[in-house]
Subunit: 423 residues, 2 copies
């Protein structure tokens, strides 16, 4: 096959007829497949469901007290230590949350909105025209939070090294810019790792807003599925060393380590931030679920053992990613109608089609029974300026179904490209 743009009109008509016939054939299978979200598959869940019964009464009676009872706002100390080990920060910098780091992120912004952060002059709801930096493509649930609070989102270009830091350093001179979303390791959706240089520049930012919040969503901190664990710097100490100790809030969870939505989460931040925030959090909750925290401490033990458990996931995940990448290599690369990174961790493959094809491709894919993340979802306000990015989540469907789903996607993209070129 040669690249579509190099084909003659006749060749393209011929290719179109072939692709269309194949598409119709796939459509007639009445598939019902879902590649829309980064949900682990059942095989993965089965490999960690032994967590359900590991915890006994005696495990809860710790030197720090009876973890079955009320109290200990910041979480079970053993869970603070576990997170500190995984993230590379200090236990006293860790607040252990409930089943969702998303909730901790939402709550941080909600508290800034209602009460302000440590260095705020007033609650954010008393300020006008707030803005937020959104490296994109990024995580749609991040963007949904800032959108809900009516904070204007500014798209920052993602590079293979991380956010375009020239742009960021310029934009943060505006005191109305109150924060930035990041997924620094195996970023959602590109799957890239921010380079040391980008991280250094982030830690050294000098935002005009005294209460600028760097939202460091380290969702995939130990989530390699291809190869060994890749060491990653501790942003809390980097910001401290850069004289920005209170600028950063780091989030993580075990949602893709043990069971999604039934794990534990954390927010790491400077001790001063912890003091300020825990005073507010203490009005909201007595503590998050310390029994589930202890269950995770017993099951994961420490970073080293958590990495062992992550290998169980990798074993299932790698063939899923391989199937997608293989199909893209075979079908899309030769046609010259898309490009992508090859991630070694995380949950997504980020496919960039030729401009103007993403929406049509997702629609055609849906018509043939395969649900993808909505085109544009990876951009603020759901608006991809190039209409190019498609987030592929290969984890949920079993391999056989996944192969069908990706075949549908590739065929749909080819069809969309040919429609455009023939128009």
């Amino acid at each position: 096959m040669k690249p579509y743009r190099d084909m003659t009109p006749e060749e393209r008509q011929h290719e179109y007829a072939a692709v269309k016939a194949h598409y119709d054939e796939l459509k007639s299978l009445n598939l019902k497949l879902d590649m829309s979200r980064g949900k682990p598959g059942r095989d993965q869940l089965d490999k960690v469901s032994d967590i359900l019964t590991v915890l006994t009464r005696d495990d809860c009676l710790t030197a720090d007290g009876d973890m079955r009872n009320y109290g200990v706002l910041a979480g079970a100390p053993a869970a603070q230590r576990l997170w500190a080990d995984i993230l590379g920060c200090r236990p006293e910098e860790v607040f252990v949350g409930g089943n969702a780091s998303l909730q901790l992120m939402y709550d941080l912004i909600a508290k800034a909105w209602s009460f302000g952060l440590l260095h705020s002059e007033k609650p954010w709801c008393r300020e006008e025209g707030l803005k937020w930096l959104c490296p994109a493509p990024g995580y749609d649930r991040h963007f949904a939070i800032t959108e809900l609070f009516g904070i204007e989102m500014i798209t920052v270009k993602m590079t293979p090294e991380g956010p375009d830091m020239d742009a960021v350093e310029e934009l943060i001179k505006d005191p109305k810019v109150k924060g930035m979303w990041t997924v620094p390791k195996y970023s959602n959706p590109d799957g890239i790792i921010y380079s040391d240089e980008v991280i250094r520049r982030i830690a050294n930012m000098k935002p005009a807003a005294p209460d600028f919040a760097l939202m460091w969503d380290n969702a995939y901190v130990i989530h390699e599925f291809d190869g060994d664990y890749v060491p990653f710097p501790d942003i809390i100490s980097l910001c401290r060393e850069a004289g920005n100790p209170d600028m950063v809030y780091e989030f993580a969870s075990t949602s893709k380590v043990t069971l999604p939505g039934a794990g534990i989460s954390c927010m790491a931040a400077s001790v001063d931030n912890q003091k300020y925030l825990q005073k507010l959090i203490g009005v909201q909750v007595i503590s998050y679920d310390k029994v589930n925290q202890m269950r995770h401490v017993k099951y994961l033990q420490n970073k080293e053992h958590a990495l062992e458990i992550m290998k169980r996931h990798a074993e299932v995940l790698k063939p899923h990613f391989d199937a997608v990448l293989k199909a893209l290599e075979a079908e899309i690369r030769p046609a010259g109608i898309g490009h992508w990174e090859t991630p070694k961790g995380g949950y997504f493959i980020s496919l960039y089609t030729l401009p103007g094809l993403a929406k049509r491709t997702v629609a055609l894919t849906k018509e043939a029974g395969v649900i993808l993340t909505g085109a544009g979802a990876t951009f603020p306000y759901g608006k991809d300026p190039e209409d190019s990015n498609i987030r592929i989540a290969p984890s949920l469907p079993p391999t056989a179904e996944l192969e069908q789903a990706i075949e549908v996607l590739c065929t749909a993209l080819k069809l969309a490209a040919l429609e455009q070129l023939n128009a």
Copy 2:
């Protein structure tokens, strides 16, 4: 012994000397006891710790889907049904939360603050001078939430039947009055049950504020420790029948059914409220911990079986309450320096001293090594106008320690009363 106020000055001097000597003796024991919070004791926790290992993988694979994975914002449908059974409402009126109903209450007010409720004209943070009704004595953690948001709290007198409804019906004519806290069954701290007539009047309130929020904290819905379960009406249907379907938000949790801070919670509300709120909640969290919800469904099964489990708690709790009541009867009643209700459920005994004695009593008690809930804590802004109410939480200390603790309290109260009378 005769009532202190009937004693001659000489008799009182004599009594003072005796009480003081006894107090000093107790003080010299260097006790370290805590009756400050409604924390279950270790015996109670041991009786329900078999919940830790009941849930297996297969229990999570339900007709409603795999509860180990992401999704189902409103919670595991089986948990919705369990709560509906316990509360007497409909499953679709139930949102199942995480480990703390307090968090759901905080979040409701936080969402009203940032975005408004279903019938709000604007977010509460865009209004001035908001007010809130606080039947008192009440729950300090409730008051802490409204205080944090800067909502002016108006104390409403509690009667043995519930809040003074004449006062409430007058106060809600003010459109600035946005809501009311209640603990309708075994109210914290008085331990009384709102009468049918009070409940009827509450359900039929016609507040001027279109977005008035009746916070119905049904914390002790199945929490009898003395005698059988006392049926209690479903406030959701009562409000609906009264033409106030969207006025009420009901909260409950299993914190004192299974393990405190490791249970499940719920918010019951009209289907329209659920629709409105879940759209907001969906930005904050994908769902609360459905695995823990399934664990509770398996363990509690239904209301009837949950009531069986509550008998295990009652068995431990009743002797604790009896010890306190016996001491109060023996020491305080004859001196004529306090009165109290005799609760049959809940976690507290609410002791009313003669005016002006609560603070001094709690201070003297503390000095002798026994921590009580701070005097005044049961009133908005921590200000008990009579300085009279002391909340006693008998559940945590083992019986032997409890007997010492209550002896300290009685002695301290007698000392405080004699100081006042002799002054």
